[in-house]
Symmetry: C2
Subunit: 344 residues, 2 copies
DNA sequence: ATGAAAGCGCTAACAC
DNA sequence: GTGTTAGCGCTTTCAT
């Protein structure tokens, strides 16, 4: 390959015997340039196959038109959906996305933040890794006046824009639904309690029991059951109890619920008659398992769009005092066969 | 928020009364700087909370350490996995990813390419939209000496690095497996034939029939059945034929296979006894449908890593004549209950 | 309406 | 080892 130099505004200026500044103005469609000149410049740019050097432009302008996104894993449906939503909404406004995955590692999350700061991104969107309990890296973002938006897994005490699902409410609804279907010994599969989402879901579970006058049974609450395997393992334990539960709320994820379903089938528990199952996230497979699994939809693509719009609105806002507002999106309980003991 | 200026190497230089170039050298750990000076500079940088401005650095160096990725949709398992793989492998080498989605639109794909060129990315990784039949935008990438890697959905005539699955081979294996299980009237759900992947899969189907001396039956080959809905619709047509097929190969995707399974269940065809079903992609749900669905695993995360490594290797390659090599990854047939008429 | 010139923050010759 | 200087490609005053 030849390494011919790329065309710059100077090449165009030289060719037309005008000043680079005029070329720059014409290319950004400034009204200060005569129509005829503008036409000529645009035509020449086309001919010389000119493309703007966004890096140079950004350096000069002191902003990057870039949003950085940090998620635990790109290839989890929920996060992929949110990213798709962010991309969709920000794309139109000329923003690009730089994507990083923390792989659920705190150390790597910190590195991602640094990379994005170095890249001069205008905004950082983050959902925390499971390991993250220290938030200095988030504060350093704020110190630099970079817009910070936390979503889903957030540090509640760090004052930033936040986009959340109402996990407490969703969880309460799910458990109430189970109770209304006649389930009485409802087990809970919990996730790591340092993450707000799992804490809220547990609280919702407890509140639902309380509201319906049901006792809290310690042996029915199992920590750290947030993968298919861990869900299966927990279920094996639960179903071997002298008094096994008659329903399991896999508050961590549908993957955990899947583990529950597998073990239930394996141990010949009839779902939903002997065992009700409810998951979380509305992964696509929940619709097609046998029986289909009741779960909670998080409106994930919409969540992504909300995040992007929040940032874009903030930009328009000339007011310097940014109120660190929280947008709460109400998840939707999707009732399917795995909890329909009574029919409906 | 105050709009305090960010620290630059000049701030550090001034504070220590040394030249900015020395600061720059120290920060990039150049051996040309005395250890003592280096220590001092690093310490001061830390104190002043200095972060490099990657944009300025990139502009100066004439490269961006960025890889641009264009996929039809971020939130499809296959693409999300590939991206995760690319990210994982390139991250270590200090590369960032800019992600764009074409949304299966040609026009938008062209825009994505332009954005990435403007961003001075070092490499563009692309999987084509279903609408793309003109490749000028790809050629313009090559003209600029930007590394171009096509994967999965590629323009075969454009000479670039390519990473592909062997769709022909995989398809042949799948259909041969069906034949060996005793299925005789095997239907094909096809995808748009302008995409290489769907052409190859159809060829594989035809070759497998030929190799086993089975006739090609036109009414059993249905075009454009590449979503759950279209797959379902096609299946309804097929199963209503005077002589319905005894197996359906949803060569387009597991989503199409899902549509097949739903309609089969609905119309009381016993799977796999009366109807064999084979999908494509090994989506996570294929394992847990009832019955589980035979499919083809594309090693998607590995594919992403391969793409990244291909680019990184090319960098080391001082040889200017880049051979436009093609890496073919052999997909794996995953045999499950939906095709096990005979048992196994 | 156009041009001249400065400078965004960094790196890399080139000097000493 | 360290300093001086120029310049990556662009935008934006400030003149005219």
């Amino acid at each position: 390959m030849s390494s011919k130099k790329r065309t710059t505004i100077y090449d165009i200026a030289e060719k037309l015997n005008i000043a680079p500044s005029s070329v720059s103005r014409a290319l950004s469609n400034s009204p200060l340039v005569k129509e005829a000149t503008k036409k000529l410049i645009l035509k020449t740019a086309e001919e010389l196959n000119y493309k703007i050097n966004t890096i140079a432009s950004n350096l000069r302008k002191g902003q990057s038109n870039t949003i950085g996104v940090i998620v635990p894993r790109i290839n989890q449906n929920f996060f992929a959906d949110v990213i798709a939503g962010i991309e969709e909404a920000s794309y139109r406004q000329g923003y690009n996305l730089i994507i990083c995955q923390s792989n659920e590692s705190y150390e790597r999350e910190v590195q991602c933040v640094n990379t994005l700061i170095n890249q001069q991104v205008d905004c950082i969107v983050v959902s925390l890794s499971v390991e993250t309990t220290d938030y200095k890296h988030l504060e350093s973002v704020l110190d630099r006046n970079i817009e910070l938006i936390q979503f889903d897994r957030v540090a509640e005490n760090i004052e930033t824009l936040k986009v959340l699902n109402d996990n407490h409410q969703a969880s309460m609804e799910a458990v109430s639904h189970l109770i209304e279907q006649g389930y009485k010994r409802i087990a809970l599969l919990e996730g790591p309690q340092n993450l707000n989402i799992f804490r809220k879901r547990k609280e919702g579970y407890l509140d639902a029991l309380k509201n319906h006058g049901l006792p809290v049974i310690e042996e029915l609450m199992l920590a750290n059951a947030w993968t298919t395997e861990l869900g299966a393992e927990a279920t094996r334990k639960l179903l071997s109890l002298p008094q096994p539960p008659d329903a399991i709320f896999a508050s961590t994820s549908d993957f955990a619920a899947l583990g529950v379903l597998q073990v239930a089938t394996e141990m010949n528990f009839k779902v939903p008659q002997q065992l009700g199952i409810c998951g979380y996230s509305n992964e696509n497979f929940t619709e097609i398992t046998n029986p289909s699994v009741t779960t909670i939809d998080q409106h994930s693509v919409y969540m992504g769009k909300t995040i992007a719009n929040l940032f874009l609105d903030e930009l328009k806002n000339t007011d310097t005092s940014v109120a660190p507002k929280t947008v709460s999106i109400k998840p939707k309980l999707i009732i399917r066969n795995s909890t329909l003991k009574n029919g409906k």
